[in-house]
Amino acid sequence: MNESPLAATHARLGARMTAFGGWRMPVQYGPILEEASAVRSAAGLFDLCHMGRLRIRGGDALLLADRVLTNDVAPMKPGEARYALLCNPDGGVIDDVLVYREPDSLFVVVNAGNRERDVEWIRRHASGLDAKLEDLSEALAMVAIQGPMSARILSPLTDLDLAGLRYYRCARARALDLPDVLLARTGYTGEDGFELFLPVGEAERAFAALLQAGAPHGLKPIGLGARDTLRLEAGMPLYGHEIDETTNPIEAGLAFAVRFTPGKDFVGRKPLEAVAGTGPARRLVGFRSEGPRIPRQGYVLYEEDERLGAVCSGTRSPTLGTNIGTGYVPTAKASPGTRLSLDVHGERVPAEIVPLPFYSRTRKTTR
């Protein structure tokens, strides 16, 4: 089990720890639903040191990325970030990743539990190319500040003009008394916010400095429990839930990250092009369900007596005040408004398909 470089900080803050992707990480510091609400209304600080942090260097770095990733990497300009998938030859999802284009290399953030597999997979596809993959996960710490107050809290702590850093952009700058921090306006909560990459030895000091600077603005440390609730409200997939090697990105609603650009060949392109052409047989949908019982992964979704599929993720949504969940159902049954029932330990609970995402900060009303 890997320990976060922020382990002592979490102990001091009274966090409850959990095993996640081979790391011991904070699941919560206080009630999960209150933590989720704090991020929506003010800001939250996250330890994300479990995430895999990789760098691809070399003259063929872009070529390698475009061999293994579904999105277009070559056209990215330095300072841009893009979501992409790593697929197997059948189009099944090996991982979902964020690619940050830096002037001299690509920085790739991958899921904790998939890191070793990803490294091996990308290296295997690098044969014959001038491209080298480095695993920086143990050298760099990753923290995120997310929520509407994030920019106000971070601004005084960096030389970078944050107003000039748009969503899905990144830059290197002096920040938190460190000469060279990679700052990205990205996140996994559906709120405005930043992800920061800095040397592991500076992680505790930087985390404390952010907490102190943010406290007057309502900044709170947030665990992985609330992070899961926030990402689900925002309709973002979690590997092992909405996506895995048995699902493809088209049915998962991730076609925006799959580009069939002429002249480019990536692993999984052919089967994915076929699925995109005919349309997927099933689709990931969002649903709301009634009652006190939270939908959980594996619970079965029915339309009357017909089994439609199973739940991928579920939570109590503090933002919407209801239970929400995701699951795959046949495309013909995937329209919002479709009435379902959910089997909760033998009890049928009414549910209804609703549009994804459940929550959007730019569309404050819920559809």
Partner: protein, 127 residues
């Protein structure tokens, strides 16, 4: 130190002997491990339970757990307030947050096989 007036199961339930019955609930450790409680399902009065048999479910935002009878017997009474007032369970699991009153049908219902407070606490050592 947890209360000495009762015994504990390794699955974090407790049984407290009272005249003619046992009061049953879960420990503060179980509550802490579950986190934010969202749902509690208790059995009907009159249900007969074997020692170790699942009698209900408790859920939190992140987890679902079954509840196991620490002693064998018949359910005499359930804490009807608890499912709608889960803060009772969270704040006072050893008293106001009790779940069941069970009457042992034969002998001690297996009470003697449960752990004393200090032995139960030793099982938590790893946490």
């Amino acid at each position: 130190m947890r209360p000495n007036d009762r015994r504990y199961s390794e699955t974090h339930e407790w049984a407290k002997p009272e005249p003619g019955s046992y009061l049953v609930g879960i420990t503060d450790f179980a509550v802490e491990q579950l986190g934010d409680l969202t749902f509690l399902k208790l059995p009907p009065v009159g249900r007969k339970l074997r020692q170790g048999e699942a009698f209900g479910e408790i859920e939190s935002v992140k987890a679902v757990s079954e509840l196991y009878a620490p002693v064998a017997g018949t359910v005499l009474e359930v804490n009807a307030a608890a499912p709608d007032a889960l803060e009772l369970v969270r704040q006072d699991p050893f008293a106001a947050g009790w779940f069941l009153r069970i009457r042992a049908e034969s002998g001690d219902g297996g009470y003697g096989k449960l752990l004393a407070a200090d032995a139960y606490e030793k099982t938590l050592g790893a946490h």
